[in-house]
C-alpha cells in the first residue's frame, strides 16, 4: 500500500516539474520587455534597470527559472506589484473564502447529483429518468455566470430574500455568511451536479445488473435495502473519486462566480491581478490551483485503493 502511494508520488514529480515550467513560461509570453511593462507609466531608464536587476530579468532564462523554483519551494511566490504584499500571504488570505464556497458547492452537487442519479437509475426509462437527464444537461450547459446573474435578479432584486453581493465570514456571523454564500455555492454546484448525476446513474445501472444484487433480491430482501445497502455502496465509490477531481473545476468556476457576487476569494484575486497586470499573483494562483488539483488527484487515487481491496495487492 505504502509502496503504491510512494510510486504515485514519484510519478508526480515530472508532472510538477512541467507544471512549474508552464507557469514560469507564461511570463515569457508577455509581448515586449517585462521590465518595461512592470515599470508601467514610469519609463525612467534607471527604474527599468532597477526592476531588471531586482527581478533578475538581466539573467539567462534558465537561471531566472531556477531562482523562481527556489522561491516556490521555500514558499516565496514573489511580491504583488500592485498591493506590495507577498503573493503567498495574499493567497493564504483568500484561499479559505474560496474553500468555504467550494465545499458548500460540493455538498450541494453531491446531494442533488447522487440523489437524482440513483432515482434515475432505479426508475430507468420512465419520465423520472428523462427528467433527470434533462436536469443534468441543464447543469452541464448553463454558463454559471448567467445562472448567477439570473439568481441575483430573482432572489435579491425581485424577492429581496438574499443579498446580491458581498461576503461575511462564518466566524463573524454564520447566518449572514450562509445568506451571502448560498447563491454562489448553488451556482458552482449546479454544473458539477450534472456531471455527478450522469456518473451515479451509469454506476448504479451497472450495480443493479450485477450478480450480488440479483442474489440480494433472490434472498427476498426489500427493494429499498437492495438499492440503498447493496447497489449504492458499490456504485458510489467511483462517484466520490470523481467528486475529488471535480474540486479543480470548482476552483475554475469560482473565478467568475466570485466576480459576479463580489466575493473576495481566490477567483477575484486572479481577475484583479489580470487587470492590473500583477503577473506574480497570476502565476501564484495558477501554481496553487494546479498543485491543489494534483494533490486531490493523488488523494482520489489513494482513496480508491483504500476502498477497493482488489487494488491493494
Amino acid at each position: 500500500m505504502l509502496t503504491l502511494i510512494g510510486k504515485r508520488l514519484v510519478q508526480l514529480l515530472p508532472t510538477l516539474f512541467f507544471v512549474s515550467v508552464i507557469i514560469f513560461s507564461l511570463q515569457q509570453l508577455l509581448p515586449g520587455d517585462p521590465a518595461m511593462i512592470m515599470a508601467g507609466e514610469d519609463k525612467d531608464p534607471e527604474t527599468i534597470e532597477q526592476i531588471r536587476r531586482q527581478y533578475r530579468l538581466d539573467r539567462a532564462i534558465p537561471v531566472q527559472y531556477l531562482y523562481w523554483v527556489k522561491g516556490v519551494v521555500t514558499g516565496d511566490l514573489g511580491e504583488s506589484m500592485r498591493l506590495k504584499e507577498p503573493v503567498t500571504r495574499l493567497i493564504l488570505q483568500k484561499l479559505p473564502v474560496t474553500l468555504q464556497l467550494a465545499t458548500m458547492a460540493m455538498v450541494i452537487a453531491l446531494l442533488i447529483g447522487v440523489t437524482a442519479g440513483i432515482v434515475s437509475a432505479v426508475k430507468r426509462d420512465t419520465w423520472v429518468d428523462y427528467a433527470v437527464n434533462v436536469l443534468s444537461l441543464w447543469g452541464i450547459s448553463t454558463p454559471n455566470f448567467w445562472l448567477g446573474i439570473m439568481l441575483i435578479f430573482l432572489f435579491a432584486v425581485t424577492l429581496g430574500w438574499l443579498p446580491a453581493s458581498g461576503y461575511v465570514s462564518p466566524w463573524v456571523d454564520w447566518r449572514q455568511s450562509l445568506a451571502t454564500t448560498i447563491m454562489p455555492a448553488f451556482v458552482l454546484g449546479n454544473a458539477i451536479a450534472g456531471v455527478i448525476m450522469r456518473h451515479t446513474r451509469s454506476a448504479m445501472l451497472q450495480a443493479l445488473q450485477s450478480d450480488y444484487v440479483r442474489t440480494a433480491r433472490a434472498k427476498g430482501l426489500e427493494e429499498r435495502t437492495v438499492v440503498l445497502k447493496h447497489a449504492m455502496r458499490n456504485a458510489l465509490t467511483p462517484v466520490i473519486t470523481l467528486g475529488a477531481l471535480e474540486f479543480g473545476t470548482l476552483l475554475s468556476g469560482a473565478v467568475l462566480t466570485e466576480q459576479i457576487f463580489t466575493i473576495p476569494g481566490f477567483g477575484k484575486l486572479i481577475v484583479d491581478a489580470v487587470f492590473n497586470r500583477d503577473y506574480a499573483v497570476v502565476q501564484g494562483v495558477v501554481l496553487v490551483t494546479a498543485t491543489t488539483y494534483i494533490a486531490l488527484n493523488l488523494l482520489a487515487d489513494v482513496g480508491y485503493i483504500l476502498v477497493n481491496p482488489r487494488l491493494r495487492e
Binding site: I23, F153, S252, I270, V271, R277, A290
Partner: protein, 296 residues
C-alpha cells in the same frame, strides 16, 4: 473513413448492401431525437451567424439615445441595451464570435493535439513519456484559470482568447488520441500493414488515424460546447471580444450593471449561450452513442 478499418456488420457478396461505418453511424444518429434537435439548432445558429447582415433588424453597433434600455416591443423584439443598441441584432451577430471561438479554438487543439497524440502513442518510449508528462502538467492546470492567465499574458482580444482556449484544450486531444492509438496499434490489421512493409507514417496516417476519428469527432463536438462557454467567460471578464463588437459574454457583463432597470439585457445573451452549448452537448452525446460499436 476507410472501409477496411472497421469490421462490417453486414457481410454479403453484393457490395450495394454493405453498409459503411459512416452510413451506419448516421442511421443510428437520426434515430436519436435529442441529437437531431441539437443538430437542427446548430444549423440554424450557423445560418443566423452567416446571414447576420441580412437577417439582423438593425446595425448591432448603432447607438440610439432615444431608445436607451427599452423593454422588448414590436420595434425591438429583444429590447435595447444601455446605449440604445438593438439586442436581437447583437445576439445574432454575437453568434459569430461564439461559433468562431468554438470552432477555431477546437481546430487549434486538434491541429496540435492529434499529431502529438499520434506520435506519443505510436512511437512510445521516451517520446511518449515526455509528451504524456507535459500533457499531465497541462491537465493539472484548471481549464478556465489557465485560459484566463494565457489570455491575460497575450493581451485581450478575440484572437488571443481563441489561442488561449485552443492551447488549453490541446492536452484533452493529445490524451484521447494517444489512448486510442494504443488500443488500435495492437489490432491485427495494423500488424498486417506492418508485416507487408508499410512505412511508419503510412501505418499511422492510413491505418491508425481513421480509426481514431470517431472518438475525436465526439470529443470535438463536446469541446466546442466547452470552448463557447470559455469564450463567453473570457469576454465577460473583458479578455475576449472587445467592444463595440458584439459578444454574448460581454453583453452579459454590461447587463449585470442594469439588472434592476433592464433585466431583459441579461436574459437573451445568456439564453443564446445556453441553447448553443446545449445543442452541441446533445449532438455530442448522440454521436457518442451512434459511434459506439456496442449500440444497435
Amino acid at each position: 473513413m476507410t472501409v477496411h478499418a472497421l469490421p462490417q456488420t453486414v457481410t454479403t457478396a453484393d457490395a450495394d448492401f454493405v453498409e459503411t461505418p459512416a452510413r451506419r453511424a448516421w442511421r443510428r444518429l437520426v434515430r436519436r431525437r435529442g441529437a437531431m434537435v441539437g443538430l437542427a439548432v446548430i444549423v440554424l445558429i450557423v445560418l443566423a451567424a452567416v446571414l447576420a447582415p441580412l437577417i439582423a433588424p438593425y446595425d448591432p453597433t448603432a447607438q440610439s439615445w432615444s431608445a436607451v434600455r427599452k423593454a422588448p416591443s414590436a420595434a425591438h423584439w429583444f429590447g435595447t441595451d444601455e446605449v440604445g443598441r438593438d439586442l436581437l441584432a447583437r445576439v445574432i451577430f454575437g453568434a459569430r464570435a461564439s461559433l468562431l471561438a468554438g470552432v477555431i479554438s477546437v481546430g487549434i487543439a486538434i491541429a496540435v493535439g492529434v499529431p502529438l497524440g499520434l506520435l506519443a502513442g505510436y512511437a512510445g518510449g521516451l517520446v511518449d513519456g515526455l509528451i504524456s508528462r507535459v500533457t499531465d502538467a497541462m491537465l493539472a492546470c484548471p481549464f478556465l484559470i489557465l485560459a484566463i492567465a494565457l489570455a491575460a499574458f497575450l493581451g485581450p482580444s478575440l484572437t488571443n482568447a481563441m489561442i488561449a482556449i485552443g492551447v488549453t484544450a490541446t492536452p484533452i486531444f493529445i490524451r484521447l488520441t494517444r489512448g486510442q492509438v494504443l488500443s488500435v496499434k495492437a489490432e491485427d490489421y495494423v500488424e498486417a500493414a506492418r508485416a507487408v512493409g508499410n512505412p511508419h507514417w503510412r501505418i499511422a496516417l492510413r491505418h491508425i488515424l481513421p480509426n481514431v476519428l470517431p472518438a475525436l469527432l465526439v470529443q470535438a463536438t463536446l469541446t466546442i460546447a466547452t470552448a463557447i462557454i470559455a469564450e463567453a467567460s473570457l469576454s465577460f471578464l473583458g479578455l475576449g471580444q472587445q467592444p463595440p463588437a458584439p459578444s454574448w459574454g460581454s453583453m452579459l457583463n454590461a447587463a449585470q450593471r442594469f439588472l434592476v432597470n433592464a433585466p431583459w439585457m441579461a436574459v437573451w445573451p445568456g439564453l443564446a449561450i445556453f441553447v448553443t452549448v446545449l445543442s452541441f452537448n446533445l449532438l455530442g452525446d448522440g454521436l457518442r452513442d451512434a459511434l459506439d460499436p456496442r449500440s444497435k
